[in-house]
């Protein structure tokens, strides 16, 4: 089966003539998120990073669902569709599979992607459609004014859960890995550099790339990720993953991730002379998702302690759009280009003469 590598796939999208700047990607629409919203930082990062890709901006399309983050396409001076709640991955799938010359981005939130649209998300991931999905996770419903979301911690007190929420949350990275995702990453709104590096890796990935972006909702869930942002606490809380490097964190890399030889599970240890050689080296390209999954489970759902960020998984596997297009070519090769007259006539006809 013919396959295109990342480079070839990206080459289907025409390059921009001349140099682009961040300004080229700003639309004329006034941005209407709440002042202080984490979405601003993500928007700026995306607009700032787009010129790096050097793609013709008319060949870039942003598709979103419903929610605060889903207003995103209005602010990008590219093609865009603000669709309906949860359905952006399905609409983007139709667009990407019919137009391989487009770079298609999906912008969604924790409610949009994981609650009402959960089905479409997992199926896009397993198909490996050439989509870049930016999942803004603020662990709350913002646009409907503050109900708990499928990523909220258990016991969350909100307007709809005055006695605390009962649902166990999803871990979006674990979910994506379980759904056969070929690329899964996590980043944080406030870390522009890290965010940009993850976006770059996603853009370079052929197939579906899921990027979970921890995003602060300063109105309804302010400080939800503070532990990951506060310089002192973040050292202990955040595990920065880099492909090919030992997984160490904490003050001066004092903590490390090791595999328990008995269970195969991962755990955090204080690094010593003796165990230094056992610290796990991150392999984002491991064909098996098992270790990436175990890494995603290190994070505590309540406190977010030991949250891995960076690219957890990035493996190449056949891309749905390419496969679909190959079948069309193969059909023409096998049967010739379709001839309507022959098709309509079929094999079993009779003639009536006047």
């Amino acid at each position: 089966m013919p396959e295109a590598n990342a480079n070839e796939l990206l080459q289907l999208v025409p390059k921009a003539e001349g140099k682009q700047s961040m300004k080229d990607f700003k639309s004329d629409q006034e941005v209407r998120w709440c002042p202080g919203c984490g979405d601003y930082a993500v928007l700026a990062a995306v607009q700032g990073f787009m010129p790096e890709l050097g793609l013709a901006k008319e060949n870039i399309t942003f598709v979103s669902g419903i929610g605060c983050s889903s207003r995103f396409p209005y602010y990008m001076n590219t093609y865009g569709m603000h669709s309906i709640h949860g359905r952006a991955p399905s609409i983007a799938t139709g667009l990407a599979t019919s137009r391989r010359d487009l770079s298609v981005w999906v912008v969604t939130g924790d409610g949009d992607a994981l609650s009402i649209g959960g089905n479409h998300l997992i199926h896009a991931l397993r198909r490996n459609v050439n989509l870049k999905i930016l999942l803004f996770n603020n662990r709350i419903y913002g646009l409907t004014k503050g109900q708990y979301s499928p990523t909220s911690e258990v016991g969350k007190i909100t307007k709809s859960t005055p006695m605390g929420s009962l649902d166990a949350p999803f871990n979006p990275v674990s979910l994506a890995l379980g759904a056969e995702a070929s690329f899964v990453a996590r980043t944080v709104d406030s870390d522009r550099k890290h965010l940009t590096s993850v976006l770059r890796a996603a853009a370079d990935h052929p197939g579906t790339a899921l990027v979970e972006i921890y995003q602060n909702c300063n109105i309804f869930n302010d400080g939800a990720f503070e532990v990951l942002k506060d310089k002192e606490r973040a050292e202990e809380a955040v595990i920065r993953l880099e492909h090919g490097k030992p997984i160490r964190f904490g003050s001066e890399g004092s903590k490390g991730v090791v595999r328990d030889p008995l269970t195969g599970d991962l755990g955090v240890v204080t690094v010593t002379e003796e165990n230094q050689s056992q610290i796990l080296v991150h392999d984002a390209h491991n064909p098996s998702p098992t270790t990436a999954f175990a890494l995603s489970r290190l994070a505590d759902a309540d406190t977010l302690h030991h949250t891995p960020i960076g690219v957890l998984r990035s493996v190449e596997r056949p891309v749905y759009d390419a496969l679909m297009s190959d079948q069309l070519d193969a059909a023409i090769e096998q049967h010739g280009k379709g001839d309507l007259s022959n098709l309509l006539a079929g094999n079993d006809t009779w003639t009536v003469v006047g």
Partner: protein
Amino acid sequence: MTSQVSSPAGKSDEASEAVVGEQRAPQLVRSGAAEKEIRRLDRVIIRFAGDSGDGMQLTGDRFTSETASFGNDLSTLPNFPAEIRAPAGTLPGVSSFQLHFADHDILTPGDAPNVLVAMNPAALKANIADVPRGADIIVNTDEFTKRPMAKVGYAESPLEDGSLEAYNVHPVPLTTLTIEALKEFGLSRKEAERSKNMFALGLLSWMYNRPTEGTETFLRSKFAKKPAIAEANVAAFRAGWNFGETTEDFAVSYEVAPASQAFPTGTYRNISGNLALSYGLIAAGRQADLPVYLGSYPITPASDILHELSKHKNFGVRTFQAEDEIAGIGAALGASFGGSLGVTTTSGPGVALKSETIGLAVSLELPLLIIDIQRGGPSTGLPTKTEQADLLQAMYGRNGEAPVPIVAPKTPADCFDAALEAARIALTYRTPVFLLSDGYLANGSEPWRIPETDSLPDLRTRFATGPNHELADGTEVFWPYKRDPETLARPWAVPGTPGLEHRIGGIEKQDGSGNISYDPANHDFMVRTRQAKVDGIQVPDLEVDDPAGATTLVLGWGSTYGPITAAVRRLRAAGETIAQAHLRHLNPFPRNLGEVLRRYDKVVVPEMNLGQLALLLRAKYLVDAQSYNQVNGMPFKAEQLATALKEANGA
């Protein structure tokens, strides 16, 4: 067996149609070589009935193919349970296939069979009520043993208790004869038994002088990988034929001449509704010079369209089997945004799930075809049975004011033209369009005059390529909601077009610029404009068939065309005066509809629902349209409709 033409007129469909002259009396024809008589008939209705696993649909399909290639006019009615294998030998497990064929133009699969082939007691019991006295019944006597009879409540054998005295019963040990005929093939008893449907087909093919080469070729290609099974089936088929020719029980065979005089000149084939619809979609893509993109989720009775289109990727057709109904239409709409002819196929329950996306398509004003093959509802309802009860769902089943044009095919072959018409409206007016077919049209078949591809409508459309608006400061810009003044359609600017980057969405838009707008006056304007666009769609005037100046009009839509027309012919043949018209467009209605309705003292609307079209007519035109309804999962019978119309006409 003369009952086939001399059965009481009231008993058989279209008995009084005088399309090709007088109904002919049976002629005695001595065939040259054979001893047996051949009688000439003008039309026959055959029903094959058996267990779901007996292959009755295949048998019916083959007989239909033979009949089509012989040149008869025909109409078919497959009828099967939703279960793939209902419990064997039970009444719910009975599957049947009715075929009406004639030497003249016919309109329905017929009310009552002239011949019933019953493969087991359940098939006999489930169908006998439809069989008029004097008709032929061929039964597989091997199945009339104690247990199979007890399963359906026959205490005594109906073949022996005299209950079938009024019929012409042909007891044939089909299973035994088939096994006997195949004993050379070294098959197990069970394997050999499975060919009994081909034995029955062979026998019926002899009785009605059908050509046989087609079936033999078909069997050899169907079982190409199992040549022994192919040859066994061919042998059973031939054995059935020979059995008819040699046994004394079948003293006469019949001839139904080709219907050449009833048809305009041309090349014909047999076609089912779903196949015609699939071809219509492929043709629409070609005529529009756009790639077809089908996003669909399997659902009875629409899945065949997904299957068919999936076979034709060499036409550039993309088919996407989505994770659910919503994703099916989502992908189709996404493809439309990208410049494809987006299509989604489904049935009523699927339409319910797609409603929100249809509303989005109304708001985005992108072309999109929503094909609804209606089935019995509500909820899961009757998946394999027919109904027309999604009209109001198609018309109004969305939040907000969300008008969607609706077209409906009237016969299986007409599904081809209806698909092209739906595409014309979608592309010209940049709107989602409903096509309402139903289970009866989908699975039924009839001869189709294959159109010349040059004669198909030109559906080519234009993509926007540059700015369409000048701002006050002289800047040239692209406004995605600046409309064509004639059609009110907005420009279709597909991604990849430089300079026309724009954002669209489900939030209300400012007229012209398409920017988000919550302005009350603008919303009022946009709601009215979207409605005006759909109301202004150009559709042909309604044609009325009223040769004698009637006072009663019978008005239908969709698949009731055949039964209504047959009933009207019957009434006219009996001296009644009645007018008939049939709606292809349900939204918008033809411009002259109000005037047509007001011309008649009485308007009768037969529908396979509880009066949905009648409700629309009464609301829009303030006419006292009278409903005549049936919702039993089956098409109207011409006889029953004729009686109802006669009553209405006389009252």
